[in-house]
Structures are given as C-alpha cells and as structure tokens.
C-alpha cells in the first residue's frame, strides 16, 4: 500500500514542472502541453484526496477537468494552427506586434 502523501508530492512536482514549463519554454505548443500537465497534476491530487476523504466528489471533478481540457485542446490548437499558417512559426517571442 503506497501512502497517499506520495501521490500528493508527485502531483505537486508535476504541477511545478508544468508551471515552470509555461514560464521557461518559448514554443507555444510546448507551453500548451505544460498547461495540460498542470491540469493533470490537479487531477492526480483530486484522486488522492478522494482516497483520504472517502467521498466521490473529487473523482467526479476529474471528469469535468478532462472534458474541459479536451475543449481547451480544440480551441488552443485551432489558434496555434491559425498562427502557424500566417507566420510559419509558433514561437511566442515572435509574437510581438503588440507593443505600447
């Protein structure tokens, strides 16, 4: 039996990795993947806490997060593909036409 705290530590590590990825990486696809990693870290935390509290609401939340993440993929990929078509690059450093 693995203690629940192991899962929580893992989820915290995954979440931090995702957040770091968003801040450090420059490719918008990789940033997007890092965001998905953050969401899935939260899912892991939900499932672990569900075990602690012996209720189901955490697991149900995971369903919603997954459904929302799928919708996010659809919107995000469409935007990234549109950007790629018009500038042949998905590097966020090249997105700098908006400056004050």
């Amino acid at each position: 039996m693995v203690p629940v705290s192991y899962y929580l530590v893992l989820s915290a590590i995954l979440f931090s990795l995702g957040a770091l990825g968003v801040l450090i990486r420059r490719n918008s696809l990789v940033i997007f993947m890092s965001i998905e990693l953050m969401l899935n870290a939260a899912n892991l935390a939900f499932v672990a806490f569900t075990r602690v509290h012996e209720t189901f609401s955490g697991q149900i939340f995971v369903f919603f997060v997954m459904a929302v993440a799928a919708a996010e993929v659809a919107v995000g990929l469409a935007l990234i593909v549109a950007i790629y078509r018009s500038r042949q690059s998905v590097d966020i450093d090249q997105l700098s036409s908006l400056k004050g």
Binding site: M1, V2, F63, M66, A67, A70, A71, A74, L77, V81
Partner: protein, 118 residues
C-alpha cells in the same frame, strides 16, 4: 511496502532482458549482407518517396480535434452505463439532455463541412 512492487520490477527486468538478448544475438550471429535497398527506411516494401519529415495535411488535425471532442463524452457515458439500472428514468432523461448539446455541435460541424474530406 516496496515489496509489492517486486513483481512489477521483475517483469520490467525480464522483458528488458529478453529484448536485449534478442537484439544482441541477432547482431552477433545473423548474416550481414548490406545492400542499398536494404538500408532504406522500411515502408512496406515500397521505395520511399521524399524525406520522412513531410508535412501532414491540416485535415488530419481537424479530424483529430473533432475526434477528441466527441470522444471525451465517453467518460461521462461509461459511469452512467454502469449505474444505468439504479439511475432509472431520471438518469435516462439526464443523459438525453446531455446529448442534445452534443447533437447540436454535431449538426454544426456537419453543415460547416468539417466532415468532408475533399
């Protein structure tokens, strides 16, 4: 506690070992007769055309995204199907309501031509 993982660890080790042995034995004892055609990337026996990193048509992306959207509803269907009898008519009508927006999305996608390949 870690002992519970012993079985999994053993399995990983054994599979890795079998794979390594197979590859090593093959390269040690197998006959080697290099030939230009043999060294080409394998594409079901055809002669490869162009580089392997060709661009994939954007169509594939559209199909993939549409697939994800309609695929994810399964995660709501599965628990519902398991508890179908206990949920009764209430569960049935809830699922009907759940399906209406998906149906609207489907009609939208169809009429917009998202399903046309050409």
């Amino acid at each position: 506690m870690l002992l519970e993982y012993a079985a999994i660890a053993t399995m990983i080790l054994v599979t890795a070992l079998v794979a390594v042995i197979a590859v090593v034995l093959g390269s040690l004892f197998g006959p080697k007769r290099p030939h230009a055609r043999k060294l080409l990337p394998y594409e079901s026996g055809m002669t490869p055309i162009g580089p392997g990193t060709r661009r994939v048509p954007v169509r594939f992306y559209l199909i993939a995204v549409l697939f994800i959207l309609f695929d994810i509803e399964i995660i709501f269907f599965l628990p519902w199907a398991i508890a179908f009898r206990e949920l009764g008519w209430y569960g049935f009508w809830a699922m009907v309501v759940f399906n209406i927006p998906i149906l609207i999305g489907f009609i939208y996608e169809w009429k917009k031509g998202g399903l046309e390949w050409e």
